[in-house]
Each structure stands twice: as structure tokens, then as C-alpha cells.
Amino acid sequence: MSIDRRHFLKIIGLAGASLAIGKSFGAESEKKGEVEFKAMLYDSSQCVGCQACEKACAAAHQLPEPKDEPKVGIIRKTSETQRSAINIFNTSKGEVFNKTQCMHCNEPACAAACLTQAMYKTKEGPVIWRGDKCMGCRYCMVSCPFDVPKFEYHSSNPIIQKCDLCYDRIIKGQIPSCAEACTAGAVIFGTRRGLIAEARKRIAKSPKDFYEDIYGENEAGGTSNLYLSSVPFNEVGFKTNLQNTSYPALSKGFLYTVPSVFVLLPPLLLGIHEATKNKPSNSEENE
């Protein structure tokens, strides 16, 4: 088939038109197939520190029930036997609770780090760990800016323990066990978009009671676990110096150079090899 000038322009014109209107088409079809990231919002102003969420979490994942209680001055960390932990902090506005577990980043560093995709960001939002793939290299732990994945150091068949946002329950249409157990309404489950709107609404409604930011909206490029607090988040034990762009972006530049090096370097080396090959040995003078 030969393409004359007129025909060519026609195609270009059509392509241009379809590009211009394609946006609205695309958006519509995307919406149909799109699954919104699921998320959780923790509102510390509602939390009473009853640890019902911790206990429900332990029961749901066959882990030992936590025996210790939140206490000012002590930081209870998540561990290889505990996926979620409530702490209490003495802040500028009195005692405030906070809950820690996996943040379920939009672009998780752990999943980008994993060389077998054992750490995996599901399309529903939760970041899950798959034992049949994991080789236990712990690169996810090195990479996670929140130090979430925990490793069983005292096992010959160790697993990585972390919150999976009750992925098995979510795909069945249920809500995570901690959100279900929370009778105070401090942990609520929904879509990420919806919960950010809800959080904004709460801040706008009573700006005196809340710190202005939602933790997790932008941190590490955005996370599925979102936080409202009455005090700045560094007062309740959160890292506030994290970058607001995704962590995998940090190694993207390096990974993008790999194909170029693979394509360009061998012919260059071969070229130099050929160029220097037939000369008589003059190594003595060269060095």
C-alpha cells in the first residue's frame, strides 16, 4: 500500500482528533474497569486506646494476643508476632493515642525492592507478602521507610510479618478486622479517595481539634493508611521528614540506564578491541 500526501494528512488529522477526544473516552472506560485503592483512616481524636483492634488483628492472623498496654514513655513496636500496635504519647495537647501498622504505600518501596515480587501491591490497595516466592533476603526491610516488614530471626523457616489490610477479607467484601473491631469509630475503612474527603471534612468542621495535615496523603508518595491527629505528627511518633515522592523513584534512574548500557557498551568494547587488535605490541611505550 502506498500512502500519498493527502492520505497521510488524513491519517494524521484523524489521529490528532482521536487524541483530543480520546481523553474523555479513555477516562470513561477506565472508570468501569478501575478498582479504587482501599484504605483506612485512623482518627486519633476518637481512639480510646482499648486495644480491641490489636486483639482482633491477633485473632484474625493466629498471632498471640498482646498482653501489654499502651503507656506514656514506652513505644510498643510492631514485631514478628504483632502486626498492629497502639501507643500513647504525652503531647502539647495532652495524651494522644496513635496506631501503627503497614502504611500500604501507593508505590511501595518494599514491593519495588522485592526481586521475586513476594511483596506485592494488589490492585485493591493492600501490600501483601507471598511466602512461596520470598527468599528471605530482607531487602524489603532495608527499603521500607516506615520499617514495617518484620522478620522471624529465630526460625529456620522464617516468614515476613506485616499487616496486609486483611486482604483475604477485603476480596470477600468484608472490612479489615481492626476496623470491624473498633467500636469507638477511630478506625474506618473505605476507598482512599473517599477517606481523604472525609478527613478533610472533619478538619474543616473543627479546625481547632485537628492538625491541618492528613498523614499519609503525601508521605512517601501517598499511602493507604491515613491519619488524623490533634497534634503535629512528630509528637505521636511518626517520621515527618519523609519525602513526598515515591521511594521506588529513587532507584528508577539507575534501572533506566541498564538497557542503554547493555545496548551501547558491548559494541563500543568490540569496536575498541578491533581498533587496537592488529597493531604491533607497543605496550612498553604505552605505560
Binding site: 526481586l115 515480587q117 522464617p158
Partner: protein, 409 residues
């Protein structure tokens, strides 16, 4: 492998290959050398610790924690060990790509060193894996985690080991007397070299790129987006300093294996390598300086970590660089060796600063390796030296190739 070579090889003083291999397996020479007296007990203890590690878990023998998941076994064995193995790609580049025939006599021993370093340090990686039975997953596609720098490094380790084995294989063929195989394998050398150099540039830098996502965990004086380039640049002089160091020892220990001609050539080789090291270190230092100024790190200098950084830069980069320059100008062989040792210490310091000392530098409880971790590290190194010695004593690595092989060249 033996079966494959069996039909070709008929040159082992009339012995069949299995018989020949069996006779070669037996130890040679004196048993009670100082090295053996030190290394045998360490290896025995190390093997026991390794058994405990697989039986009771990593926590039983290491000080690793949830905050510091990578310790000495990764930071020293893998990251530092691979930097020292960089000599192989630099020397093969000089000999096969630039055709600097002057360095031809050290190619085999350098490639062997590099190959063994990769085998043993990748082996050390297996010790550190919590679920080593899944190590095959990124190779067989369960799954291909292509967004991971570690995926790249893992594949490169494997491919580079194969490339180096091909580069070294003519020596094995000469040892077995397999003329046909030698001819074929020699033909593969240039391809393996080009492939190997490409792989090396990528995974030497890749080892640094592993730490790019740990941005908030590494001290700012050692973290920068240029870690990959710094690691690549330093692998050049790390590898060559190792070549100088190893050559110095080999020429003493394996004195009788090395021909008169090569003994004489050694001085010129070391002299030439010193010049390259000096140049590479200058480039590296300049890069470090640029990174330092670019990142506006002045504020950290007047802190304990800042002094530590200055010590690394002045004592173990600038000083050995000047020594290399000076000893090259004056052709002072002893000074070159001192510069090589200082450089190697500097590379160890640098790699540990990024991976262990500067990692979680602000943590309340710092990671310090256990004695058991150190013993296992020494075990890995000692076993490597044992294998190295075994090969040197049998294959034409330092000594000349057999006459028939020379004729074919």
C-alpha cells in the same frame, strides 16, 4: 562436567580422567604451614556456626535486628568482596579490549580470583537468606521482580560467574589435557570478556544502587544519588589494589611456579597498575568532592560522623592516591604495596560506612556484628583461599601453559 570432557581428553600421562582427577584431589606439599594451622580450626568452628544458623535461624548467630536487617555478611562479604573482585573486569579490559599485552601474564590469576570471589560471596549471600530454598525464584520467574535492583544484581552475579568461568576455562582444559575443548573455549574468550565487562559495570554500580531506597537510613555524608557511580569508580582501584596485593603474596608463596620472565615482568606490571590506580582514585576523589559540595553537607563535618568521613577521605583516599602518584614517579615498589593496602582498607571502610556503620547511624542500639558472624566471614575467606591454592597448584594459572597449548596460540 567431567563426562563432557572425557572423550576429548587423553593427555593426562595416559591416565583416565577420573583417575587423574582422583590423584589431583589429594593434598600436596607440607601440611603444617602457618596458614593451615590458623585456617583449619577457624573453618571447623565456622562450619558449626553455619549449621546452627540453618537450624536455629539467623537470630541465633547474628546481631541482626528488625531495624538493621543487613549486617556484616552483606556489607562485607558481598558488597566489599565484589568490589575487590573488580580487578578481573579491569584487567580483562586492558588486555583484551585495549590489547595491552604487558598485563597478559596476570589475566588468568586475576580472573580466577574474581571467579572465586563471586562464587564464595554469592555463597555467603545464601547463608544470609532466610528462605534459601526459594533462591531460584527470580531465575525461574516466580516472579521476575524487574523493578528491583537486587533482581538485576542477582542475575548479574549468576551471568558474570558463567562469563568468568568461560574466561578461565582454557586453563582447566590445559590441566585436563583437553586440546579440542581448549580450542573451542579459547574462541569464546573475547565474547565472554565483553559480556563480563558490561555486566561488571552494571552490578558494581548496582550494589550501590541497592541502598538508594534507604535514603532516610544512611548518614547523609554517605548517601547520595551518586552511590552507584561512586561504587563503580572505586571498584576500579579496589580491584587493581587487590591484584597488586594478591600478586605480591602469590609471587612469594608460589615462587617456584612462576617463570623467570614473569617474575621480571611483575615489577613493570605493578608499576603500570599503580599509575592506573592513582588516576582512578583521583577521579573518585573528585566525584566525592562534587557530591559533597552538591549535597551541601558542610554542616555534618563538625560532628563525630563528620570526622569519621574526613578520616576516610583524607587517610584512605587522598593519602593512598598521593602514595600511588609518588611511588609511580619514583618506581618505589614497596611504597606501591603500602598504597595498595591502604587503598584496600579504605574501600573496606567505605563499603562498611555505607552498609553498616552509616546505616541507622542515629539508632539507639547500634548493630555490631557478633564474633560468630566474623568467624563465618573468615571461614568463607579461608575456604576461598584453600580452593585458590588448590587450583594454583594444579592448573596453569601462574605457571606457563603446556607446550601444546602454547603452540596453538
Amino acid at each position: 562436567m567431567n563426562d563432557q570432557i572425557l572423550p576429548i581428553g587423553k593427555d593426562n600421562d595416559g591416565k583416565s580422567i577420573p583417575k587423574f582427577l582422583w590423584s589431583e584431589l589429594k593434598p600436596r606439599g607440607k601440611w603444617l604451614t602457618p596458614f593451615n594451622i590458623i585456617s583449619i580450626p577457624v573453618i571447623c568452628i565456622g562450619l558449626v556456626i553455619i549449621v546452627i544458623r540453618f537450624w536455629k535461624g539467623l537470630g541465633a548467630v547474628t546481631n541482626l535486628s528488625q531495624e538493621v536487617p543487613w549486617g556484616l555478611w552483606i556489607g562485607f562479604d558481598v558488597v566489599t568482596g565484589v568490589a575487590f573482585a573488580g580487578g578481573a573486569y579491569v584487567v580483562t579490559f586492558m588486555v583484551y579490549i585495549l590489547n595491552q599485552q604487558k598485563y597478559h601474564s596476570i589475566v588468568r590469576v586475576t580472573v580466577l580470583n574474581g571467579f572465586l570471589a563471586y562464587v564464595f560471596y554469592a555463597g555467603a549471600l545464601l547463608l544470609d537468606l532466610g528462605r534459601p530454598w526459594n533462591v531460584i525464584n527470580p531465575i525461574i520467574g516466580n516472579n521476575f521482580g524487574t523493578s528491583s535492583v537486587l533482581f538485576l544484581v542477582a542475575w548479574h552475579f549468576m551471568l558474570y560467574m558463567i562469563a568468568e568461568l568461560i574466561e578461565f576455562s582454557p586453563a582447566i582444559a590445559e590441566w585436563l589435557g583437553a586440546r579440542g575443548a581448549r580450542k573451542i573455549l579459547s574462541g569464546l574468550t573475547i565474547g565472554a570478556v565483553i559480556f563480563g565487562i558490561t555486566l561488571s559495570t552494571l552490578h558494581q554500580s548496582g550494589l550501590g544502587a541497592l541502598y538508594l531506597m534507604a535514603k532516610d537510613k544512611i548518614h547523609p555524608l554517605w548517601y547520595s544519588e551518586f552511590i552507584p557511580i561512586l561504587f563503580l569508580a572505586s571498584s576500579v582501584f579496589a580491584g587493581l589494589s587487590m591484584v597488586i596485593f594478591e600478586g605480591t603474596i602469590s609471587h612469594k608463596v608460589f615462587f617456584d611456579q612462576i617463570s623467570e620472565k614473569n617474575h621480571k615482568a611483575q615489577e613493570g606490571i605493578v608499576h603500570g597498575l599503580a599509575k592506573i590506580c592513582a588516576g582512578a582514585m583521583f577521579a573518585y576523589f573528585f566525584l566525592q568532592l562534587l557530591v559533597f559540595i552538591h549535597d551541601k553537607n558542610w554542616q555534618y563535618l563538625n560532628t563525630p560522623m563528620g570526622y569519621w568521613f574526613l578520616m576516610e577521605m583524607i587517610g584512605f583516599v587522598i593519602l593512598p592516591m598521593m602514595l600511588y602518584f609518588y611511588s609511580y614517579r619514583t618506581n618505589n615498589q614497596l611504597l606501591i604495596r603500602i598504597a595498595a593496602i591502604l587503598t584496600m582498607l579504605g574501600v573496606i571502610l567505605n563499603r562498611l560506612n555505607v552498609t553498616v556503620i552509616g546505616f541507622r547511624w542515629d539508632a539507639a542500639v547500634r548493630y555490631v556484628p557478633t564474633i560468630m558472624e566474623i568467624v563465618v566471614t573468615m571461614t568463607v575467606i579461608f575456604i576461598e583461599i584453600w580452593v585458590f591454592r588448590w587450583i594454583i597448584n594444579r592448573m596453569p594459572v601462574l605457571r606457563e601453559s603446556p607446550e601444546w597449548a602454547k603452540k596453538e596460540n
